[in-house]
Symmetry: C2
Subunit: 175 residues, 2 copies
């Protein structure tokens, strides 16, 4: 049987835990020998989207671009894990319709919690106005309406969230 | 044994025959059930590089971006076939050094032959000055110095060139 690929699309606010959970899921899959690629938003911006900013149009272009690449992997039997804020609902829905095995994973935590974590110190800068168009502060985040998985990172540990994703993949027959 | 991926990088002038040979090679590989993705320059520009122009810098960014994506595929056991003018030697060499199984294929035909074919009518426009920075006319093409394969499309049929590439992949153990 040919290995089935998938796109695990982790969306959520900055500091919600997307990258951490994505890395945990990637490790879990690699341990089980599933071909896996982690496409982290920040890294992907460097390689695919230099020159794009944070307007709605540029964000949508960035998300479509990551989706295009993730789909090349997914349709070839690879599990592509994407960690990207991807704040706009419509373009995520568009990808769900046009790509192979798109699984929307909402990495959810209240804004106040994310801001208190402020992993990269970006919320502080956004509050001071040093960063404009910052999702959650000066730019919208449109929550998923019907995501396949919701990881509530203020209520569960990283390990629990990672296991939640892996368990979903098992029950759906991806692994 | 895990399937080995590769990047078949077809470089050459416009109308040299890159897309035609790339499609023939893709078909040949798909018939033999090898996981294959064709990344055609024009299509990739739409999905990955909208907004980029044809300055040296933008061309190099475009080529690096295609290389990044092709490498994600190659290192996961997929044969990525790239058809892109990619006129500058240095960035092709850079990809050869930094990617998995980069195979440079020079699709070669004299400029006069390419211009007489003018598949997309672009040479005519370039001669009239309607297109600027046109490779071979008003922009340089730096020939590969030591490509793995040279397909001379003015001397051999498409089928012969396709078989030349497939034969190389056989002898090198990729298929």
């Amino acid at each position: 049987m040919k290995q089935q690929g998938a796109i695990l699309w982790l969306t959520g606010l900055s500091s919600a835990g997307k990258t951490t959970i994505a890395q945990g899921v990637a490790e879990g899959l690699q341990k089980r020998n599933y071909p896996t690629e982690l496409l982290d938003g920040d890294i992907v911006r460097t390689h695919l989207s230099q020159g794009l900013g944070f307007s709605k149009q540029d964000r949508d272009t960035n998300v479509r671009r990551i989706g295009f690449v993730a789909n090349l992997l997914s349709r070839n039997g690879i599990i592509a894990i994407v960690a990207a804020i991807s704040p706009y609902r419509q373009v995520r829905e568009e990808l769900k319709q046009t790509t192979t095995n798109f699984i929307e994973i909402y990495i959810q935590a209240p804004l106040a919690i994310c801001e208190s974590r402020d992993v990269k110190g970006l919320y502080a800068k956004a509050r001071k106005g040093e960063i404009k168009n910052f999702t959650g502060i000066s730019d919208p985040y449109e929550e998923p309406i019907n995501p396949e998985i919701i990881c509530q990172t203020d209520q569960f540990t990283v390990e629990q969230c990672v296991n939640q994703v892996l368990h979903y993949l098992e029950t759906q027959g991806f692994i």
